[in-house]
């Protein structure tokens, strides 16, 4: 458990009646980091966030804020603020009153509230909309009001539950930049839920990948992309070719995996027991095509089955020659192979380092 963790979940679980929607989970969140929680629908993302916010009580476990268990601290006393998916703005209050609400219920003086609201509205670029009611704002503007309302009390952690889900693609991208920038500026921990992996990659310092009420992997976007920790992560996070195989040992005593790609030599890894079944993952963009007949150590002969033009890159489906029916996908810069066509014989090659072995 790192010293600088601001929030620690220790064995936190949640069950509704007999259904465990979150298995006992440990998670350390560091001060000032932008962490995204990524996972398919129903994986328990909102459940985790609601327990941190105090809207739902965990069935077991501790939630430590700066080392102190806050499970019994009611929502209104927790130094966190939430941006809700539906924004949850108060429709009977103008923008200024919505944003100033947190200060008002704390009994801050009117003049001070007015000053801070003006300051925060400036940050979210809504200074001219202060006197509007929420229903007279666009979706993106409402979103920024919700954000302003959440940061005005200078929370130690900002919780965001898919705040961008309702916005169109372009607005979404600009809000992503805005949020990331804001987070850097106010140096506050953000816990951001999304089920969009592109969003997670572009925003997060660290990503928590969840599935079926369980954390599958925690790591930087780069780590998770390069080294998916499970078959689920490899599938969910970007595209991957998944190739099943069996661990063997060759004559030289090296570990290798017998698979559709032939015998693939892999770095020695103590956890690879001879005879065990594994899955290898390799990204489409990490497979290179080399001319037929070239001899590269890690390669396999293949036939082009289809070529799909996607703009800067092309997606190529290959069938592996000896097996005939095992397909892999390759992503290549379109300009590198202008004349590739269906039926061409090629050799697909990869660097050993680009292979990830999943158990």
């Amino acid at each position: 458990m790192p010293q600088h963790a601001i929030l620690n979940l220790v064995g936190v679980s949640k069950s509704y009646r007999d259904v465990e929607v979150l298995q006992p989970t440990d998670l350390a969140i560091e001060d000032g980091e932008f962490i995204t929680v990524l996972g398919p629908s129903g994986s328990g993302k909102t459940t985790i966030l609601r327990m941190i916010g105090g809207f739902t009580a965990p069935t077991s476990g501790q939630i430590l804020f700066q080392g102190r268990d806050i499970v019994d601290v009611p929502t209104f006393q927790r130094p966190f603020n939430t941006v809700f998916q539906d924004y949850a703005l108060f429709p009977h209050m103008r923008v200024v009153d919505n944003v100033g609400y947190g200060l008002r219920v704390r009994g801050v003086a009117k003049a001070e509230i007015a000053r801070k609201v003006a300051e925060v509205l400036q940050i979210v670029d809504l200074g001219d909309k202060a006197d509007r009611f929420p229903n007279a704002l666009s979706g993106g503007q409402r979103q920024r009001v919700a954000l302003a309302r959440a940061i005005i009390c200078e929370p130690k952690i900002v919780l965001l539950d898919e705040p961008l889900a309702a916005l169109d693609a372009e607005l979404r991208r600009s809000m992503q930049d805005f949020l990331k920038d804001l987070q850097r500026r106010i140096k506050t921990t953000f816990i951001f839920i999304t089920h969009d992996q592109q969003e997670a990659i572009s925003m997060a310092d660290r990503i928590v990948v969840m599935n079926h009420g369980k954390i599958e992997q925690i790591g930087s976007p780069r780590e998770i992309y390069r080294r998916p920790g499970s078959e689920f992560v490899a599938r969910f996070f970007g595209e991957n070719n998944l190739i099943p195989g069996i661990v063997e040992q060759n004559a030289a005593g090296e570990a290798c995996i017998d698979s559709a790609l032939g015998r693939v030599i892999v770095p020695r890894d103590a956890s690879l027991a001879v005879g065990s079944k594994v899955v290898m993952a390799v990204r489409p963009e990490h497979i290179k095509l080399v001319p037929a007949g070239s001899t590269v150590s890690q390669s396999v002969a293949a036939e082009v089955r289809s070529v799909t033009f996607l703009g800067a890159t092309s997606q190529i489906a290959l069938t592996i020659a000896p097996q005939g029916n095992f397909a892999i996908r390759v992503s290549l810069p379109t300009n590198d192979f202008p004349s590739l066509s269906v039926g061409d014989q090629v050799v697909a090659a990869w660097a050993p380092d680009d292979l990830t072995i999943l158990h």
Partner: protein
């Protein structure tokens, strides 16, 4: 416009006028009579005066009955509104067991024949040993009107997203602050509408009241009693005043309802 269309429209007009006269004719007649005297079954047009209004002011028993009615209506509506609001908020802010049963019990008097409600309350009061009077009437009216206010408030509360309550708590508000700053302002128009409706129900409630009244009658009971001996002309003045009051209330109710709807739409 074809000939047959013209005839249809003419017939519809006649029909509409007939309905209109049937509905409002008596009211207009009463209002007119409140300013004139009758002379051998004819309105004496030369006799315009406010004399009936003056004698109404003299008629202590009717004024007392009107006073009783207003007092009962105000107290029962006020108490029913507070009860309905508290109950609805409690039911809304969590998974409450038995909510369906409680609501059933609240709505029961609203659909039950008033005579049953009246008799049951009468028996209950007698068993407990409470003397009949304005208090028992007010309690009876609370039982009768609470459903309508509860319903009005609940419909609005259900439309209020849970996330708003959560957002309020999240921003540091206590339960009470949330109630005062987020819930009540958004319920105001529903409460006003419900209270106005309840007020009109309480105002002319007769059957339940009949069983619960002691020696102080309400206005409907007083009028009922007068029917046997015949009305004096100041009743026309009274009816006219009540009519005006009702129209003002109905207009207020409609306005508040419309404001509520407009807000929801926006």
């Amino acid at each position: 416009m074809t000939r047959s269309e013209r005839i249809t429209i003419a017939v519809l007009w006649v029909f509409a006028s007939f309905v209109f006269v049937l509905l409002y004719g008596p009211a207009v007649l009463v209002a007119t009579l409140s300013f004139f005297d009758m002379d051998r079954g004819q309105i004496a047009w030369g006799s315009f005066s406010l004399a009936h209004y003056a004698s109404l002011l003299e008629n202590k028993s009717i004024l007392a009955a009107l006073g009783n009615t207003l007092m009962v209506a105000f107290t029962s509506v006020a108490i029913a509104t507070i009860l309905a609001l508290g109950l609805a908020y409690y039911m809304r802010t969590g998974e409450r067991r038995g909510r369906a049963y409680v609501e059933f019990i609240i709505f029961l008097p609203f659909v039950l024949p008033a005579i049953i409600t009246g008799i049951s309350l009468l028996v209950a009061f007698r068993e407990v040993g409470v003397d009949r009077g304005l208090t028992t009437i007010a309690i009876g009216h609370i039982v009768v009107v609470i459903a309508i206010i509860y319903r009005m408030v609940m419909v609005r509360l259900e439309a209020l997203e849970t996330s708003q309550l959560e957002a309020s708590a999240d921003l540091g508000a206590t339960q009470f602050q949330t109630f005062r700053l987020v819930v009540v302002p958004q319920l105001a128009s529903a409460m006003v509408t419900g209270a106005l409706l309840a007020f009109t129900i309480s105002f002319d409630e007769t059957l339940v009241t009949f069983f619960l009244a002691g020696s102080d009658p309400t206005l409907p009971l007083r009028l009922w009693a007068m029917m046997r001996v015949g009305f004096s002309p100041e009743i026309n003045a009274l009816v006219t005043i009540v009519l005006l009051g009702t129209m003002v209330l109905a207009t207020l109710g409609a306005l508040s309802l419309r404001r509520g709807i407009a807000k929801e739409r926006a």
